[in-house]
């Protein structure tokens, strides 16, 4: 095992780098677009502050369609779009496009769920103080839901890592692709186990960090 670890050290570091790029950009997309989308999903729901049946229906359908696609097929289906955005459908950067789309849909759902846990009374207090929409969102909703938002992002990140393992099909690379090509397809079981161990450690670290941060943020 140590032998194969040494032998493929360079490839492994490169793969980890690729995984970080793919997952990192997806997290960025989740925060930048998934958070507002999830907030909109929450506000448009029946019985919520800006109840809007039509918008709710459209947004929910979009999120559900993206989430129900077998991920590999979504990657293929998005190839023209990916080409439009990054100029090519092959490589690590290209792989981040479908991954980010799934990340936005996935995280928005978790954001919606976290916000639903904020007590109605808190929103009512905000309204009674004359809070504007941004005031309600940033001074009440996100403050109360912050540990849930962090836990959701943690769970999402771990899912993105899992999704990223199939990005080999479009030359995205990453630890998962390394495990498949070197370990599985070349019958080097040790290499495969090595790559899987790396991923286990990665996931453990992310979950531990996320849980700790969420716990520290929760003062309720």
């Amino acid at each position: 095992m140590f032998e194969s670890m040494l032998k493929y050290q360079d490839q492994m570091w490169q793969s980890i780098g690729e995984t970080f790029v793919m997952v990192g950009i997806s997290i960025g997309a989740a925060l930048l677009l998934g958070l507002p989308l999830g907030t909109l999903l929450y506000f448009c729901r029946k019985g919520q502050l800006y109840e809007n049946r039509n918008l709710s229906l459209v947004l929910n359908s979009m999120v559900n369609v993206i989430r129900s696609f077998p991920f590999l097929l979504l990657v293929v289906a998005l190839i023209p779009f990916t080409r439009l955005v990054v100029g090519t459908a092959i490589g690590t950067l290209a792989a981040t496009v479908p991954l980010s789309i799934v990340a936005i849909a996935y995280y928005s759902r978790l954001v919606e769920q976290s916000l639903l846990e904020v007590p109605r009374g808190t929103i009512e207090a905000a309204l009674s103080m004359g809070a504007s929409k941004p005031g309600i969102i940033f001074k009440f909703l996100y403050v109360e839901a912050r540990s849930g938002l962090v836990l959701g992002l943690t769970a999402s990140t771990i899912s993105f890592i899992s999704f990223s393992t199939v990005m080999g099909v479009v030359g995205g690379g990453g630890v998962g692709d390394f495990a498949i090509r070197y370990g599985y397809q070349r019958f080097e079981t040790e290499v495969m186990v090595y790559a899987i161990l790396v991923m286990i450690v990665l996931v453990q670290l992310i979950q531990f960090t996320g849980s700790t941060v969420a716990r520290l943020l929760d003062k309720r």
Partner: protein, 260 residues
């Protein structure tokens, strides 16, 4: 209000219905009510009488189907979004379950309404401490609501409601989640606010002792209507204790003229 005094709040013919599964339900039915500046006005009644809905109509947390709401000379029912928010900043409100922001410190909770009203940073902290001093919690400024007792949390909520120096304070069952000793304590704070700051208070409650101990005037609600109305000036209220009879008899010890 024959005895004069400025009206800080008046409701005129307000009604509010909700759509339930088995048809519309009228929570507040054609209610007119005027509250004098400086009063502590109690609204009492059984559960489901429409008390809380009536209170929430006063700052338009619920928009009435018909009728008008006027607070401090401003007709709230005619205001657009932004103007209504500005008026709400001048009306304090406290709740049965306090509704504090659990992830914010005591001082931050009190600072939020000031931020919303656009008070500059420099003045904010000073005002926060003033309000916390007023409710006797200056030493808890850095703590979180979860570290406080129920009574202390309600004091924080009161400090928060006072931050923007309101003329009117709406209280929705403010002592119903508290034990009797703490209730007396919170009622003392409310009385103090009324006496020393001149804030008019409207207090919704189902507890007779709350009315007996601090209210200067009372409206009794039943089935979405105000069915009786009387004041302390007419001859005082009974001391706290249990009695039977109508709400008026239980509070004043006397039967009254039929309410029209």
């Amino acid at each position: 209000m024959g005895r004069g005094g400025l009206r800080i709040l008046s409701l005129s013919q307000v009604s509010k219905s909700f759509m339930l599964k088995d048809g519309p339900y009228t929570a507040v039915d054609q209610v007119s009510l005027a509250v004098k500046a400086g009063a502590i006005h109690g609204i009492i009644g059984a559960s489901g009488a429409g008390k809380s809905t009536l209170l929430r109509l006063m700052n338009l947390l619920e928009r009435p189907d018909t009728g008008t709401v006027t607070v401090d000379g401003k007709r709230l029912t005619e205001l657009r979004d932004k103007a209504l928010r500005e008026q709400r900043q001048r009306i304090g409100m406290i709740f049965q379950h306090f509704n504090l922001v659990g992830n914010a410190t005591v001082s931050r909770n009190v600072a939020i309404p000031l931020e919303l009203a656009g008070v500059p940073r420099a003045g904010r902290m000073k005002r926060v401490m003033e309000c916390l001093h007023f409710v006797g919690l200056a030493d808890k400024a850095g703590q979180y609501p979860a570290q406080l007792s129920g009574g202390q949390r309600q004091r924080v909520a009161i400090a928060r409601a006072l931050a923007n120096s309101p003329k009117l304070l709406l209280c929705d069952e403010p002592t119903s989640a508290l034990d009797p000793g703490t209730t007396a304590d919170i009622l003392g704070v409310l009385r103090h606010i009324n006496a020393s700051l001149g804030v008019t208070i409207v207090i919704v409650t189902h507890e007779l002792d709350v009315v007996r101990s601090i209210c200067s005037e009372v409206s009794v609600m039943e089935g979405g209507r105000i069915v009786d109305s009387f004041s302390r000036e007419e001859g005082g209220f009974l001391p706290p204790g249990t009695h039977s009879g109508s709400f008026r008899e239980r509070i004043t010890g006397r039967t009254g003229e039929p309410y029209v």
